[in-house]
Symmetry: C2
Subunit: 302 residues, 2 copies
DNA sequence: CCAGACCAGTCAAGAAACACGATGGGATAT
DNA sequence: ATATCCCATCGTGTTTCTTGACTGGTCTGG
């Protein structure tokens, strides 16, 4: 698959040509040595790869004999890579947080970056793995959970069916045997995960998850006209409105994150830059879906 | 370099063996066909790779003739990959947000995941590139900036020296010619970036960036004892205290994110789970560093 | 100023990796 | 029973690399 470029370039060669493009794009320079060392090939082979890249994109690079490196030419155009700023930044965060090693990436010198966060704990990959297996097999498993409410019994049986990311944290959407409804479990609070057995629950009955609703958002009218205009531009609003479609259960996190759940005028408007115009509708829909879901499961299990 | 494993395995072969390990770990299954297609090799070669992997880690996989796939064996142990839950999740987010294409990863069927956020705008990679070049060359450049204060003049000249991620957004730390001090610029609000010229500013004079301070955090005493204990566990506190060292300029974002900048008792304690014990010290240190920095630049430029 | 280190490029020969063609076995579907 | 789809394995040729040998340019230190 994939290699539509060129006729029949081997996978490894294609990667090396992409490496050249990557380095030219982001670093603006690379060495024959860089190529040879990151891929474990001989200098001669690296030379031939560089020649091949030059044939592909003649105006992209120039050798600087003083710096002893190939430099990005002014006429450079990305040829083989799909440059995404977000992907680049994401990899930098991953390196900074020790989630990846620099050798696993193509970075040479990473720019000075910082990640501002209080949470630096690592999740055990095996726990995530157990959750993923359970999702794939539609099974249930016992977990040890450090609940925020400090419930005395840390062991629960859940049947997970999805993962999601909200406000910087990862959650598992799952059926809870103990509570007889669908709940969110913070992935980082799961201490242990047991074996997977088949579950009886049908995840399509999780109406709070399955159903979506439109959140209608606007800049906080207490802000100055200039600030409101800036927010409209930042969120890409049309006519001063932003409509975001979200799963019902996830509206909770957006409301928390953006302080939609705080009464107006209790916070300075700078901390409540957006307002949720249909807040009552959203809250009611969520509550209704929750109730309907519980009833539906009840009926299904009879 | 990397290839310390084995004696002299070629880079491409090593990747393919890692692919097998990756799929076994996360998906629990893979095909000869998967291997052949993602790497553009023949079925025969894929067979030989599988044989090589099996020789390396005999207890890791078993062929299921009914499913026509290799399955993760119960005795599986990761051999070639460095499993990181965070890295895996990060890649899923990147795919979901269209920052990466699924073909660029080794995922087969991605599990059902969601990313809850209002901001879905893409940054232009070329703008980030200009900023990075300026950082590397210690240069300055003109940008077009959509300020939140709605300043009428959208063009500014900045000399950036670092990037950072805070509260879900990316910022550039830079010297501002117009304001004659160091400021943070939201990367997503930069509309255009001009050519880079050498800058006169010395970024080590950015004291708010260079100096760090300890934030002393504790669970909000208004919460129940159970809840406080859960927070202590989640943030890994010792003796009910969490000490986080941060750059002065970045304390602002942590204070915003965790509502340390809101007076106690205005918010329900659930929205202010942590309190900053040395808040006055932090705020004062930030203001002092800012003033000292401006003075130092003043002296240096005379 | 010139030797030595380091960067690069090239040519030729041999080894390794890989593709292609062919053959065979087991499981499932028609 | 035949077809199909997995997988494995054995030759044989081809492509891709490596190894070795030689050449040229730029910078550094004695």
């Amino acid at each position: 698959m994939a290699e539509e470029t060129g006729e029949t370039v081997r996978w490894g060669v294609q990667r090396r040509l992409e490496f050249i493009d990557f380095r030219l794009f982001w670093d603006g320079r690379f060495n024959r040595r860089d190529l040879a060392e990151t891929f474990g090939i001989s200098a001669q082979q690296a030379s031939s790869d560089i020649a091949q890249y030059t044939a592909l994109a003649p105006g992209n690079l120039a050798y600087d004999q003083t710096l002893k490196a190939y430099l990005r030419a002014p006429t450079y155009e990305p040829k083989l890579m799909h440059a995404s700023a977000e992907r680049y930044l994401l990899q930098l965060v991953a390196i900074e947080n020790r989630w990846m090693r620099q050798e696993d990436t193509w970075f040479d010198n990473t720019p000075p970056i910082e990640n501002v966060s209080l949470l630096r704990k690592r999740t055990d990959a095996r726990i995530l793995l157990h959750i993923l297996d359970a999702i794939n097999q539609r099974g249930q498993l016992e977990i040890q959970y450090r609940s925020i409410t400090g419930s005395p019994e840390p062991r629960r049986v859940i049947a997970p069916h999805a993962l999601f990311h909200a406000v910087g944290r990862w959650y598992v959407r799952a059926w809870s045997n103990e509570h007889s409804d669908f709940r969110d479990y913070n992935l980082f609070r799961i201490g242990q995960a047991g074996d997977i057995v088949t579950a009886a629950i049908d995840s399509t009955l999780d109406f709070e998850w399955m159903h979506k609703i439109d959140l209608i958002l606007a800049p906080n009218p207490a802000l100055s006209a200039n600030q409101q205009a800036a927010l409209e531009a930042e969120y890409g609003m049309t006519d001063g409105r932003l409509v975001v479609t979200q799963r019902l259960s996830q509206t909770f996190y957006l409301m928390t994150e953006h302080n939609f759940d705080v009464e107006p005028d209790t916070l300075p408007p700078g901390k409540q830059q957006l307002v949720l115009l249909n807040r009552d509708e959203v809250v009611n829909a969520r509550a209704t879906a929750r109730k309907l879901s519980i009833d539906a499961v009840e009926r299904a299990s009879r």
